[in-house]
Structures are given as C-alpha cells and as structure tokens.
Point group: C2
DNA sequence: TAAACTTTGTTCATCCACTAGACAAACGTT
DNA sequence: AACGTTTGTCTAGTGGATGAACAAAGTTTA
C-alpha cells in the first residue's frame, strides 16, 4: 500500500535533482526559469541543482535563447553523450546488439544469426558482440553505464534466467557472469517486457501509460505497462499470456494445458497450418516466404494471415477486457504481416469487445519492429544510471 | 514513469508522520524507541511526531510496558475510535451497510433486501441505511470520516457510475449526490475492487501483495491488487474478466461477445443449468436451494457445482498465467459452495497451470463472504482520512 | 534615445525538518 | 548501593528549500 521508507532531506534533494534532469531531457532546450515554473521548484533551488548537473557533465549550456520581453535565457541541453548503454536482444537464432547514447539513439549495431548453438557457443557469440560494441564506444565522461539483455524466457525476481524453453536454458545466472566479466551493471529482462518498454519510450507507445505489448514470434509473449510502470508479477513470471486458454477442449499444448492462445495465433502455428494445408513444396519455408506469397496475391497464404489475425483478436479481446488499456501494440516478427492481419484483428475487436472498453482504445502495430527489445533494455540501463546513481560515484558492480 | 512532484520538507514530514502512524496501527502496542529502530528515524524525530499524533487524538498512551533491562517504555496505542467510517455494499437486490471504527471493526450493521426497485426507491433505501448508521455512531473527535460505496458496475476515473447493468443505472453521480447531502467525503468503487481490498486488509489476503480476487455472484467480477495497490485500468474499467472468452465458438453472451467466462461459471449459469436439467420443480429456487440439495447428497446438484468449479478453474488458470499472482481468492456468494467447488477447481489448476506459476501460489476462498466489499470501501475511506488528511483541518467535502 | 518595464539567474538570510549526542529518569543486575 | 541499560526529551547543528533582493540583459514606450 505505502512504501516503507523514511524520508529526509537527502531523498528530497535526490528526487528534485532527478526531476530537474528529467525536465531537461524531455523538454530541452529549456531555461532555468522554465524549469522552475514547470516543476514548481524555487528559482534558486533549480539554479543550484543545475550547476551540480553541469559539474557532473550530464547537461550542457547552449547559447542564449529567445527573449520574451526581458533578459535572454541560457538554454540547457541534455548531454546525451555523457555515457552509453548496451542493449542486447538474445533471440533463439540470432543476437542483436546495439550501442545507444543516453537518449536511446542507436550509435552502432551488430547482429549475428545462427542455428542451434550450445550454451557455450551462444555465450561466446554474446561476448564477441559486446566486445565489438565496447570497442566502438566513443570516449565520454562515464563510458558504458550498463548492459541490458532481453531474453525469450522467464526471468525471476533476482534476474536469473529461470527457463528459456526455446534456448533450452535453465537457471542461468547471466547477470552474474557478465557483471563479473565486464564490471558494469547488467540488467536481464524478459523479451516482451523489454519490448513493451521500448515501444513506450521510443515507439508508438509514447505518451501512453497503460500498454499491453503483444510480442508475436515463434510463441506469444506479453509485456505489461500498468500505470506507467512495467508490471512483472509476483515472481517476475507475468505475461505468460501465450498460454491463456481460448478453447476449452482445444489441442494439447506442450505446456500441459490445452487450447492455448499461441497454438492459434503465433508464427509457429502459422507455419504448422501452412505445412498442413500443403501450401508449399520447398523444404525451408518461413514467415518471410509466406509474406512473399501473400504479397504476390496467393489467396491461401492471405487466408492463413487472416486466420492468425482473427485469433490474435480473440486473445487481445480478452486482454482488453482484463486490463482496459489505452493501447495494444502488436510487435515482433508477426508485425511485419500487418497488411493482412490488421483488418480481421480490428474487426474482431470492434464486434466483440465491451463498448466501454473500446473508449480511448488504440490498437497499433510496432514501428520499431525487431529493435524494440534491444532499445528497451538499453533504456533500462540508461535510466538506472541517470536516476538512481546520480549520487553514487561508484557505478560499478552492485 | 516517475511522478512529477516536487519534494520539500513538508512532504518529508507528512510522509514520516504517516509512517509512524502506520507503524503504530500495525504493531501496537509499541514504544517510541521501537518505532525509531524499526523505521530508521531518529528518536527525537519520532518523539515529536508522536506528540503531534497524541495532540490530534489519533493515538493514546497506555501504561508502561515491560522493561528489557532498563527504563520501562511508554506503550502507544492506535485510537481506533477517533473516528468512524461507513461502508456500503450496494447489491442488486440488497443493501448492506456497516459502520466501522478506523481499524475496520464493525460497530453496527444494517441490511435490507428487496426486489426490483426503481432508482429513486433504491436511493431512498440507501439514505435510510446511512441515516441509521449515522445515528448509531458513538461520539468521537472526528465523527464519520467518510462513506464508501461498492457498486456492481463500472466506475470511471471521476468515480461516476458509468454503467451498472443489473441495476439498470447509467451515468449516475452518486458521489456528488451523497457528498452534497452528508457533507462528508464519499468514495465509489466497483464491488470486486472493494472486495479485493477488503480481503487484503481483513481477510485471507493479509500479507499478500499480488492478489486476484474473483467475485462470483450473478456475474463474475475481478479485483486486482498488483504490487500492493489496487489496479483500476486506464478509465477504471479493468477487471471485466467475466467477459473473457474461454470458448471461441461458444454461446452468445448479452455483452455481444461469445463464449464468455461468466456463461460457464457464475451463479446465473448455475441456475440456468439447473433449470435446463429440470432438477427442481419449485418455482423459486436459488443458490441456497441447490446448496441444500447438494448437502443432502443429491448427486445432480453436486455435479452442477463440480462443473462450476471446473470452469472457474479454466478462467482462473488464464488469470494465473497472466498475472502470476501470489494468491487467488474466490469470493462473494459462490464461495459458500466451497465444499464442492474446491476440488475440481484445484485439480484443474494443478493439471493445467504452468509449473513455474504454481510456485508460491495460493488459492483461497473468502472468509469474509458477503462482508468483504463493505469492509473494503470502509477501509478506503478510513485510510484516506488517516494518511491523506493528517494535515488538513478541513475534512469536509473536497 | 532615454526611461520604464520584464525576464533571467545568483546570492543571502531565513525557515524547517531531521540528526547526533548529551542528559535525566526509570529500571534491572550484581 | 553501585553500575549498566533502556527510554524519552532537549538542544545545538546540518542540509536543503524558500523568498526577497539584486544585478544583468533584454524589450517597450514616450
């Protein structure tokens, strides 16, 4: 209900300093006077906090701004290159790594694809990517402030990877391993959670506070932004919506349940359907193949996507009735098939969702596509640094 | 993401004072020294805050406690009769009103049952109940600090009743009406949300922070406690889980969707099934009738409950996979049939829920039964008074 | 063009809440 | 009875926010 924490002037100062910094990041260029009026803080208070931030190289003064009938203000800018953040999307058959500045702009990027690596080989690839990104980092006051990793699996409260079924990992303490090797704070998050945050910060989810992000890939994962914060559940296992029952007496699922959503609306199910209907003769067909076929007007492929769209609608309808979100974002690989999926999905929702839940509801497709997860985890690290370590000189291993 | 609020010493003091008060409420009798060590505040700070609380009559000093080898401490007690709170459960065919002290102990209680009242008649009944409770209030420093009302319908962000289908109400500003009449802060909440909070504070949900409360009555409503706070969704419409699809091509529901959960697991569906199977010859049969029959060993009635239990399991399984809660509480009228429902429900979950979500999971039946909603809203009002109005002398209409 | 007004940002005295430490009172132990 | 311990109060000191005064640097007006 209420957080059990004592309050003193140190906390006050730290919170106010964060507030000022946030104001500058969100609304730069901005003057000290503007910050004072928009935060409600006293001019003097703002002045001294700004001076500290200047000393810490987190912000810069730019030239004078426009006068509004008096002395011209000194404009302040966020120094987004005071440090850098690494974000990694650890996929089943690829690793995508990006280096971003503190505002989330991608500075360099590296991706490898592969097939069925052992755990050791995969970690080796991961090291190589991180090393390459580290090497490409420009010099800056704070260097790399953190590494964030999004994984397709269950991450518990202690940020250990409890289970990543498609990677065949169990109880892996990647955080510990990487922190030991690089001596930098490491954050591990579920891929869908990170994607949700990425969309909120940089994608179509900007300016929304209650977002359901549906990551449709091989399986279906869901990331929840509730009241502006990522909701992770009791043990960090929430969002296992792929295994929501949508057909009581439906097909058996590998999870032990039956009629699970991801048996009807994921990439896996799409490919299975395609195989069943004997649509293709070639051996290696993929989502991309089917998209190409649909593009060339093949009606069977289009029907496959329409079915996927409808069943996505079934699950999303449930989600809307549960959460009454402002926005639903469909992301990950399946978002590339928006062209055929959108209409059946939207139609289902229009017809089936409670009218009062449709109020103010937006259904969008990701525009970051494959980058949302990496951007999300990179942003986690950057914010951890900016808002929680402002007072700590020690920004190494926690 | 981060709350936009400036911090100053007034906030610090208010928060610390709340912290001290909370500590006394939760752990009384407690000494000043104990509060200092458990909150981390300085002894002097605690001393001055305690003195203010004593002046405000919110706490009392009791006799000296036991010595632990030194001076005997002065024990502090929460003055739970410094004020009173009214909680109302506005049902479809009943109104239950309770008067509680600030700790949630029921001091007096009044209930009326009826059938199909108009809006005006219903409000009249409500006034009568409130008037009776007001009349029964002992004299105290603060009097009645608030009225809380739980309603079976959708309450929007402004606490207006947007839609209560079973009452046939639309856009009713009950809060405004009552505040005008009684000149006391009024809180309106959805019945399931209030019930969830009631269970968290006073029932089986104590000491849990991620709770899904399933209110199974005529329909099914759900209240969510996430991270210790009530989650209400974007417009306050969350928890409409009764209309979650569990059977894609299922029966049509009045909501426009098909295969909704409450068509399979609510009191309404149970009665409908009973009628269909021609179990009874009498005209007026009810949940109680069927419970009686099951009690007397009639297997058909028992089967009906077993079916309800299974279908409750289907929906609850979905909920668990979505939220990974610590606890699921089944409440409201159907909880009275725990005896027959429990086993099929638990069995379904054991077999179908993802193993890692079953970790630390408790499934419980309400022990407050029909009182959880009224207790919940009464607690809302009491806490609003205790923690938010500590500094306000004006505790009348906001 | 000068005077008057506006806006910005700094400085300084003041206020307020928490803290540390001293201290007295009250109690148990030896 | 002497000593140590615990409790609770009091006082001086610290840190941070505030408001007002003020200088600097603009624009507007007569």
């Amino acid at each position: 209900m209420r957080q059990n924490k004592t309050w003193n002037q140190h906390v006050v100062k730290k919170e106010n300093k964060s507030l000022v910094l946030e104001e500058i990041i969100e609304n730069s260029p901005i003057s000290r006077a503007d910050i004072a009026s928009s935060t409600g803080l006293n001019k003097g208070t703002v002045s001294s906090l700004v001076n500290e931030l200047l000393d810490e190289k987190l912000i810069n003064e730019s030239g004078p701004g426009k006068s509004s009938g008096g002395r011209r203000p000194v404009m302040l800018l966020f120094n987004q290159v005071a440090g850098y953040s690494i974000g990694i999307d650890l996929g089943v058959n690829y690793i995508l790594g990006i280096l971003t500045d503190l505002k989330g702009n991608i500075c360099s990027e590296k991706k490898v694809s592969f097939n069925k690596l052992t755990y050791e080989e995969m970690v080796e690839e991961l090291y190589e990517i991180i090393d390459a990104l580290v090497a490409s980092t420009p010099s800056s006051p704070y260097g790399i402030v953190g590494i964030g990793i999004g994984v397709p699996g269950i991450v518990d409260k202690d940020k250990k990877i409890l289970l990543a079924p498609n990677l065949n990992w169990r109880n892996v303490d990647l955080k510990g391993i990487l922190q030991e090797k690089y001596n930098i704070p490491v954050i591990i998050e579920n891929e869908a959670n990170a994607g949700a945050y990425g969309e909120k910060k940089f994608g179509v989810g900007k300016n929304h506070n209650n977002i359901v992000y549906v990551s449709v890939g091989i399986g279906i994962g869901v990331g929840l932004i509730l009241n502006g914060n990522l909701y992770s559940g009791n043990n960090g296992f929430s969002g296992e919506l792929g295994h929501m029952t949508i057909e009581v007496n439906g097909t058996k699922c590998s999870c032990g349940n039956q009629g699970c959503w991801e048996l009807y609306a994921s990439e896996k199910s799409l490919l299975l359907d395609a195989k069943r209907s004997d649509l293709q003769n070639t051996e290696d067909f993929s989502l991309e193949t089917i998209i190409d076929r649909a593009n060339s007007g093949e009606s069977d492929s289009i029907h496959l996507f329409e079915k996927t769209g409808k069943y996505l609608g079934v699950g999303i309808n449930n989600i809307i009735n549960i959460f009454n979100p402002e926005q639903v974002i469909i992301g990950n690989r399946m978002a590339e098939a928006e062209k055929w999926i959108r209409k059946p999905l939207i139609d289902w929702i229009k017809n089936q969702t409670l009218w009062f839940s449709q109020k103010d509801l937006k259904v969008d497709f990701s525009n970051l596509l494959t980058h949302s997860t990496a951007l999300g985890v990179a942003a986690f690290s950057a914010e951890d640094f900016l808002y929680h370590n402002i007072y700590n000189d020690d920004i190494s291993v926690i």
